[in-house]
């Protein structure tokens, strides 16, 4: 009798393997550019905060390894395909190859122009597509440049600025000396910081332009002590999208004032020393796979892979259009190892998430800060909320 029952049990347990045998095979493609200047060896050596330290494919690979069991249980095999474009002109051919392989899920590890090209051409070329931006923080991509099938996992620049402003407000470090760089990226950063400062009641007591120069006639633009000589400010916020100038600023100011923004205390999606919510395990797995510490861009690539897995597991039979609706509808949740479960914003496809305020050595704080309130989801205090969005594209 007992034996018979065990046998019956065994056959019950045997059932899932039959499901596994009929696994649906899907492919997630990571599209990148061979000569992407962000990944030039000398550039990577600089390792400025907020810049990637390697390609997105490593984070995505880890995500698929992490999700393999869950996918397997749902009868899905999700494989990774790395597409490295020799140049932007190779995109149509690459998309044709992906179409032949029935690929519809894409991670775009591309500079802005190439990413836009991919976003525009992918749906028609692939018969529907879901594209993840894991590397660009441009708010324009989440506003007028948004698309119904485009999702963003890296925090937007506005999210980063809001996180920083929340932290400064919570500390009551409200008097800011703004050092503004001349490049277009610096200007976007400065505008974003100014927006956040207004939202959280910070006061820019002085704004000064800086310039990387050794010219003695321009030393008031380049000398860190001259730039920071006024006493009135409590923090120095440096708007340097590149990072070279900002690197020279901490501990080099005239007065003992913390540096924030592009160096010193920076807003980030991930930090390898984040020690809560299973952070050390994730960082360790990434270190093992990539042989380098996990940084923000790696986390955002990883979480994009997790998002694809999550929506597939949620309903393995849902067609792509419905998957997009589920993700952008906020009904599919992802564990990001940052505390709360994460979901995408319906209005612009941005992943809502806590943002770390980190320095080289660790995480000083997490935004949203305690005490910041929002009528629906406190994570939506970071970045562009529904009422403010300029994005009109929804699936």
């Amino acid at each position: 009798m007992r034996k018979a029952m065990l046998l019956a049990l065994a056959s019950l347990f045997g059932a899932p393997s039959a499901v596994q045998a009929a696994a649906v095979k899907l492919t997630l493609a990571v599209v990148s550019l061979a000569e992407d200047p962000r990944y030039a060896p000398r550039r990577l050596e600089r390792a400025y905060p907020g810049h990637p330290q390697g390609r997105a494919v490593q984070g995505v690979r880890l995500a698929l390894e992490d999700a393999a069991f869950e996918l397997d249980a749902a009868g899905i095999e999700l494989v990774l395909r790395e597409v490295v474009l020799p140049d932007a002109a190779a995109l149509p051919k690459a998309l044709a190859d992906l179409k032949a392989a029935k690929v519809q899920h894409l991670v775009a590890d591309l500079p802005l122009a190439e990413l836009n090209q991919l976003v525009q051409s992918a749906p028609a070329a692939l018969g529907g597509a879901m594209v993840f931006n894991t590397g660009l923080d441009d708010d324009s991509l989440r506003a007028q440049g948004c698309a119904a099938h485009l999702l963003h996992t890296l925090p937007s620049r506005h999210m980063a600025s809001d996180a920083l402003a929340q932290y400064l407000a919570a500390r009551n470090w409200r008097k800011v000396l703004l050092l503004q760089g001349p490049e277009p990226g610096d200007r976007l950063m400065g505008e974003s910081f100014t927006r956040a400062a207004r939202r959280y009641g910070l006061k820019t007591v002085q704004s000064k332009p800086f310039k990387l120069t050794g010219d003695p006639r321009e030393r008031d633009l380049a000398n860190t002590r001259l730039l920071t000589g006024e006493r009135e400010h409590e923090v120095v916020a440096v708007m340097d999208a590149d990072g070279e100038f900002a690197r020279a600023l901490p501990y080099a100011t005239q007065w003992p004032r913390p540096v924030v923004g592009a160096s010193g205390l920076v807003a980030s999606a991930w930090h390898a020393q984040w020690e809560r919510n299973g952070g050390p395990q994730l960082s360790r797995r990434f270190q093992k796979l990539a042989q380098r510490p996990m940084r923000s861009h790696d986390w955002s690539a990883w979480v994009a892979g997790r998002a694809v897995a999550a929506v597939l597991v949620d309903d393995p039979k849902a067609p792509l259009a419905q998957q997009l609706k589920k993700l952008r509808g906020g009904s599919v949740f992802i564990d990001g190892f940052k505390g709360p479960r994460l979901s995408f914003r319906a209005w612009d496809g941005q992943l809502r998430q806590p943002v770390f305020l980190s320095h080289i050595d660790g995480v000083a704080g997490v935004a949203p800060l305690d005490g910041v309130l929002h009528p629906r989801d406190v994570l939506d205090t970071l970045g562009v909320d529904e009422a403010e969005t300029a994005c009109r594209q929804r699936p």
């Binding site: 019950l12 390894e65 069991f69 869950e70 249980a73 597991v313």
Partner: protein, 322 residues
């Protein structure tokens, strides 16, 4: 004015009375102090025991002469002699062990090895690994069935409960539960496996006969959003009728009626309430609060926090010997 005051005094007195009667020793593992802190049942600190690095989950052997503690940073199982209050030996484990369970005969320990994604079995006498079974990412909760034939293991990353046949040494079924499943309690006389889902604000109830999810208990705390409710630790009352669930970030513990699965009273405790145990007399629930570095003693009859005591940095688990 006097009436509420008098009631309050009465409650305090009652609370103290129940505590005063309680006997036994309470052990709390402190992840960052590398110590176990020992308290009496009333929460008075008696001693501290130096153990291996980053002690987390603990269990007694059958006679309670020994206490086993899993050390996540030094990759060891510490063996503590409860009479002398000293760590007397260690068993080497895999990389980043977290939760474990013992075989019914007490000879084998089954450990989730977080960084290797395996559940590994070790022979306690020879201190040697016996076998391991591959799991999904970040295995955590481990529970061996009372007959010693199967083990349940949660995978935090894969969001499943693995059913492992310990004879065949392989996963025979994956049960899809909620997001980030963490710990287990075997309830309803072994007919139900309760699984806490940290990121769903739920506990899944699994039928242990066919391994189907037959129910889900959802938690709600007044004034808090769902995302702030992160259930992890659970403890069953000695009569098996009530399950206490630690709601983590919500800083509360909640009472669940096992038979009806109805959520009952909630008690405010400390920050990130994750480690729970009920005294064998059923009167006191001990809750370790990981982010406020303290332990709250809850009177289970009145559902009231009686007192909170400091326990060292990042308390993980708590167990009681009567």
């Amino acid at each position: 004015m006097t009436r509420p005051l008098r009631l309050l005094t009465l409650a305090t007195l009652l609370g103290c009375a129940t505590l005063a009667m309680a006997q036994g020793k309470v052990y709390v593992s402190s992840e960052k102090d590398n110590k176990l802190y020992v308290f009496d049942a009333k929460g008075e600190r008696l001693a501290a025991i130096d153990v291996c690095k980053r002690p987390r989950h603990m269990m007694f052997n059958a006679s309670r002469s020994q206490l086993y503690v899993c050390c996540g940073d030094s990759n060891q199982l510490g063996v503590v002699d409860t009479a002398s209050g000293k760590m007397t030996g260690t068993v080497p484990l895999g990389d980043s062990p977290e939760i474990f369970d013992l075989s019914p005969d007490g000879k084998t320990v089954y450990v989730s090895i977080e960084d290797e994604n395996v559940m590994a079995a070790y022979d306690l006498a020879s201190k040697k690994p016996v076998f391991e079974v591959k799991t999904g990412g970040e295995p955590e909760g481990v529970l061996v069935t009372p007959d010693g034939k199967f083990a349940y293991v949660t995978s935090e990353v894969a969001n499943v409960v693995h059913v492992i046949d310990l004879g065949q040494k392989k996963v025979i079924k994956n049960i899809k539960v909620g997001k980030r499943p963490r710990r287990f309690v075997l309830a309803a006389g072994g007919a139900e496996l309760w699984v806490s889902n940290e990121l769903d604000a739920t506990v899944s109830v699994v039928d242990t006969r066919d391994h189907s999810v037959k129910g889900t208990v959802k938690f709600a705390v007044k004034g808090l959003r769902e995302a702030d409710i992160t259930p992890v630790g659970m403890a069953l009352s000695p009569d098996g009728k009530t399950l206490w669930v630690g709601l983590g970030k919500a800083n509360h513990v909640a009472e669940v009626d096992v038979a009806t699965r109805a959520v009952g009273r909630q008690v405010l405790v400390g920050k990130r309430a994750w480690g729970l145990t009920v005294h064998p007399d059923g009167q006191t629930l001990y809750v370790t609060n990981g982010l406020s570095d303290d332990m709250t003693l809850v009177d289970t009859v009145g559902a009231k926090a009686v007192k909170t005591v400091a326990v060292g940095r990042v308390p993980h688990s708590v167990i009681v010997a009567p």
